[in-house]
């Protein structure tokens, strides 16, 4: 039982990070019908740039959480600028091109970001200073750290804020209108290009937050961390129904829990034949199963076979 609870806690932590990243994918997909392949790398840039700022301020005598907050703000600014630029340079000129073209530029952007990060921060794994309260608590035989609580809480609050933004504000209404039909939204006085840019900027800010949280959770950051994280977050978005914000959250948390439980139990279930290093297989396996049996995801609307 304690393993079960423990893995649920770990899964929730991981899942809320996946959810934050998945929101970035799903927002862009909802509006442009495009998989922003470079999103995972934006998370990585967020983690590493916050790390640089945090290291600069580590000896300043400021309290730990404040330093992390400043690091987060800096990372958010960097990522927002990055998201804006990526959309302008790599996606906007190709908006009416065949579907494959923006996917290839997205791959190109990922490679460029990864290599720039490698040139800037080097190949090594950076350890992240533990500035957030890391005390552990015990509940029913399972332990959780305060960092984990902070991660889940921050992610939940952010997602609630995003929901409010999209569902209750004028900007949110413009976003939904653009997602529905950019041309008609344009006739109603919505500047679709501005909305699309803003979508990328908001998604990138979420990515920066996810990057900081992931670094805080694992205590390490490196230039290659974005790829697998992005892939899993995309899986989460598909699992929940891509284009659907609530779906991304549900999909993220669900995927985190499935993965954690899978890693915890696979050894016992298969009599030790398969070990926990198969953890990454779960995400892909879930993805394939979902796409085969319910291509529109758990909460997605029916999509046509070919759009």
């Amino acid at each position: 039982m304690d393993i079960f609870l423990q893995q649920i806690i770990n899964g929730l932590t991981l899942g809320s990070i996946y959810a934050l990243v998945a929101l970035g994918y799903t927002m862009v997909y909802g509006i442009l019908g495009l998989i922003n392949f470079a999103h995972g790398e934006v998370v990585m840039i967020g983690a590493l740039s916050s790390l640089t700022v945090i290291r600069l301020l580590a000896d300043s005598g400021l309290p730990g959480p404040v330093v992390v907050l400043i690091g987060l703000l800096a990372a958010a600014l960097v990522c927002m600028a990055l998201g804006f630029t990526i959309e302008r340079v790599a996606y906007r000129p190709l908006r009416n091109a065949p579907r494959l073209a923006p996917l290839i530029t997205a791959i190109g952007v990922s490679i460029v970001l990864q290599q720039l990060a490698m040139l800037t921060w080097g190949r090594s794994y950076h350890s992240v200073p533990a500035l957030l309260p890391a005390a552990t608590h015990e509940v029913l035989g399972a332990t959780f750290t305060e960092v984990q609580v902070i991660i889940v809480a921050v992610a939940a609050l952010t997602m609630a804020g995003l929901m409010l933004l999209v569902n209750r504000t004028r900007l949110g209404r413009a976003m939904r209108a653009t997602a529905e039909n950019p041309a008609i939204a344009g006739l109603m006085g919505v500047d679709a290009n501005r909305i699309i840019s803003l979508t990328f900027v908001i998604g990138s800010a979420l990515a920066a937050l996810a990057g900081v949280l992931v670094a805080a959770n694992y205590g390490i950051a490196h230039y290659h961390m974005g790829f697998i994280l992005g892939l899993k977050a995309f899986t989460a978005a598909v699992l929940g129904g891509i284009g659907n914000l609530a779906g991304a959250v549900v999909g993220g948390v669900l995927l985190g829990v499935i993965e954690a439980l899978g890693a915890g139990y696979i050894g016992d279930l298969t009599g030790g034949v398969l070990g926990s290093h198969y953890q990454d297989v779960f995400a892909f396996f879930v993805l394939i199963v979902v796409l085969i049996f319910r291509p529109s995801g758990l909460m997605g609307e029916k999509v046509s076979e070919r759009a």
Binding site: A101, I104, Q115, L116, P295, E305
Partner: protein
């Protein structure tokens, strides 16, 4: 001179150039560069296989390297001291082609209902799953030898002559890499021939029809499911053969050679060259194997000469330029460097 004569002359010229290339390159630049040509031929075979799936049938496959891995590991397992089995290349290569083809159908069957970019992600996931299994199937039974890979694989040998040993012929010493070059070029030409014949066949036209408009193709009486599956199986078969050749050539395989980056590299050869256009794909394959290699050799010394020291890691710089080139080509030539004429017409209007 009639058109037919001219095309025969052209072929004779290309044939002579291909036959002389390794001798000239070997004498002027050294055997390392002949090795690069070997890889170019190998990658061209892979790219032509992927071209069937992506270029003809329009199915974006980001896990193509998995079939290459299947072919390579099959060769490694059946012709190495790892299990003590030493099957001849004649037996292993066709078997590799068959098994990779079956994997192609296994992947294709459940995923064909998906739309373009979903298909891309599922195939990507499939590629990663294969790699994770290759990495971890060393326990409890050691099948793949894990991350360490399988070494001391038998070299490919034809008619009792291992291609890894050099041969003297007509007063010229043909080193191992040169012999491999001839084998690979002959096989690549075979694949080009099959590709061209496929393209002009009923099946090839069905593939193009599906790529252009699946609903319309269906309405014309094409069994889209079977035809798409055939594209997957055919592409996978070519991948499996190339993988077997790779294993025999390298005499070593490890999961590291079959990462996502390799899949992307092969895809880029197809896309940069010109999707669905065989000469374009060959150009793409040649460029993306030779140019990065030239860059690897040239970038360090050049920085040394200009700045007096090596400022940027040549490897990172190479990848950086590769990424930028991908973006630039897509922005300015979305149909590739040497696109199919039919494509060009469509894009022009």
């Amino acid at each position: 001179m009639t058109a037919k004569h001219r095309s025969w002359l052209g072929m004779a010229l290309i044939g002579t150039a291909l036959a002389l290339a390794p001798i000239v390159v070997g004498a002027s630049l050294g055997n390392a560069w002949v090795r690069v040509l070997d890889f170019a031929a190998l990658y061209i075979m892979l790219a032509l296989g992927l071209n069937i799936v992506v270029g003809f049938a329009g199915l974006l496959d980001l896990g193509y390297i998995a079939f290459y891995a299947v072919g390579a590991y099959l060769y490694a397992l059946l012709a190495s001291p790892h299990f003590g089995i030493h099957w001849p290349v004649w037996a292993v290569l066709p078997l590799g082609a068959l098994v990779a083809g079956i994997f192609g159908v296994l992947l294709g069957a459940p995923t064909l209902r998906l739309r373009g970019d979903y298909l891309a992600i599922v195939t990507l996931g499939f590629g990663e799953i294969i790699r994770i299994f290759l990495n971890n199937l060393n326990t409890p039974v050691n099948i793949t030898n894990g991350p360490k890979g399988i070494a001391r694989i038998d070299a490919i040998s034809l008619f009792g002559q291992p291609l890894s040993k050099s041969v003297d012929f007509l007063g010229i010493t043909f080193s191992g890499v040169m012999l491999y070059y001839y084998l690979f070029v002959v096989l690549a030409l075979g694949i080009v021939f099959v590709g061209i014949r496929l393209q002009d066949s009923r099946i090839g036209r069905a593939w193009v029809a599906i790529r252009e408009d699946e609903v319309a193709a269906k309405a014309c009486g094409i069994n889209t499911r079977n035809v798409k599956l055939l594209a997957f199986a055919m592409g996978a078969t070519f991948g499996g053969v190339s993988g077997g050749l790779f294993a025999g050539f390298q005499e070593f395989v490890s999961p590291e050679s079959f990462g996502l980056m390799e899949s992307i590299m092969v895809l880029c050869m197809v896309v940069l060259g010109g999707m669905g256009h065989i000469p374009g794909v060959i150009l793409g394959g040649l460029m993306l194997t030779v140019l990065p290699e030239a860059f690897r050799h040239g970038a360090g010394p050049m920085q040394q000469a200009v700045f007096g020291k090596v400022l940027l890691d040549p490897e990172a710089l190479r990848m950086l330029l590769f990424g930028l080139a991908l973006i630039a080509v897509m922005l300015y030539r979305p149909a590739g460097l040497w696109p199919e004429p039919r494509h060009r017409r469509e894009l022009a209007k």
